[in-house]
């Protein structure tokens, strides 16, 4: 029976609908058609990202990073049904806590990214909008731009995305990214050094740097 589902969030590429799976509260992430791009490209991007996202979420869980549980993947409708998390986005939390708490959260972010990277999981869109604090754990969502890649370049780019997100969204707290790197180093140890050096290189490649 088709029930009209409520859209609880509309992102850039997907709608999040409130749903149920068996008796669990769930959300459906549905990648919507984009009329601005041609059909071939639209299909390629939507199916590739849906597939990749489901795969990477499972890999992330195996590496010890909290992610929502996947209940179902429907490639025909470009939809992933997953666990509903009651928590709040880090984006909304980080600017409203004490420096001590902020430091703790940022270190946790860094530790989680390190766990992903030590298993060659590249998230592809690490921003504080894509992290949910729930059950005292930071859950990572939105792996649609991710990939499995062991290269230092890919890991550096992954961290660079977060650095830019901090500069644009949490500019009042310039220490955030340093705390993230502290957490990152605490897990990856000496392996972290070449990756962190890479970030500098990526910054310099940009315009007017």
């Amino acid at each position: 029976m088709a029930v009209k589902k409520k859209i609880i969030y509309r992102g850039a590429e997907a709608e999040i609908l409130l749903s149920k799976y068996m008796n669990y509260k769930a959300v459906e992430k549905r990648r919507i058609e984009k009329g601005y791009r041609i059909k071939e490209l639209d299909h390629k991007l939507r199916s590739l990202r849906t597939k990749e996202e489901a795969k990477l979420m499972i890999e992330a869980r195996k590496s010890g990073v909290a992610v929502p549980i996947i209940y179902d993947v429907d490639l025909e409708n470009y939809t992933i049904t997953m666990e509903y998390l009651e928590g709040k986005r880090l984006k909304d939390i980080l600017n409203n806590v004490s420096e001590k708490e902020r430091k703790k959260l940022c270190k946790m972010i860094g530790e989680n990214i390190a766990r992903l990277h030590s298993n060659n999981i590249i998230h592809g869109d690490i921003t504080t909008s894509n992290m949910i604090l729930f059950d005292d754990k930071i859950h990572f969502i939105d792996f649609g731009l991710g990939e499995i890649n062991s290269e230092i370049e890919a890991k550096g780019t992954d961290l660079h995305v977060l650095m830019e997100a901090f500069e644009a969204t949490h500019f009042k707290y310039p220490n955030c990214f340093d705390y993230v790197l502290q957490g990152y180093k605490s897990i990856l140890k000496e392996e972290a050094e070449p990756i962190i050096r890479k970030i500098e290189e990526i910054v310099k490649r940009g315009r007017y740097r």
Binding site: G35, Y36, I38, L41, L145, E167, F171, R207
Partner: protein
Amino acid sequence: MICLGIEGTAHTIGVGIVEDVDEKCKVLANVIKMYQPKEGGIHPREAANHHANFIANLVIDAIKKANIDKKEIDLIAFSKGPGLGPCLRTAATAARALSLTLDKPIVGVNHCVAHIEIGRGTTGCEDPVLLYVSGANTQTIAFAEGKYRVFGETLDIGIGNMLDKFGRIIGLEFPCGPKIEKLAEKGDKYIDLPYSIKGMDVAFSGLLTAAEKTVRDKKHRIEDICYSIQETAFAALAEITERAMAHTEKNEVLLGGGVTCNKRLREMVKTMAKERKARFYVPRNDLCVDNGAMIAWNGILMYKSGIKMNIKETTIDQRYRTDMVDVKWR
């Protein structure tokens, strides 16, 4: 208040004269001259020589077109950066000379910010995400707490540079964008090319390399390759714009920069905006490309917000980033 603005960051030297009428921008004159390299890309020194040759006549021409007396000018503005050093210095020198001879104040303007402000001043948008696409620049910019912040940008080359480099390979003359657009209109077969989005950023070098290889392989028509380049690159631009809009929760999108003259890109961003029920704005063509009017208008905003510069402070900055500007007028 009437301001004369001089633009000279890259290939274009431009003089614009604008007046503020009820906080909106009225363009009285806007004239440009564009340097055309004989071959290859922009040669900075030759571009600067070109600008030096034309600037005096452009100033005279603009004053005539504006139908004002030069004594009516209240303020001089110039492009402080970012851009090519020799070009910036030439425009700044002309601005200083005018400021001293007319005995009027002078301000240096950030070129990228000027692209947003001319949109806000002439199209009716209030708080947009700007997709700024030109030869060198590819950025999504939005206002947040006192500054225009860059939310997404190219990690390697600008979209216009990418099109120019590709155009050169297939024997087109600078600027190649409009010629590629014409060829693309005759293409209809999509060739799979790398589509590179990293978070809210975009990258084009992989796409360029793959497109070059497709040309060498000689299996496809040039028209189809041009079509595929446009479809892939512009879809990525529409996507980073949408991502910036979703992230900043803004409901207006504004286009700026020379590449926005491309009809397919306009259409794509317009469709994107429509689908998310956002409003779409694009200034008229002569205000999208590099021009003096946008510099003049941003100059007025700065001056009225209390920003004053003495001649010693009118230095140029080749790497003057969008997010370095304190936006006191908002």
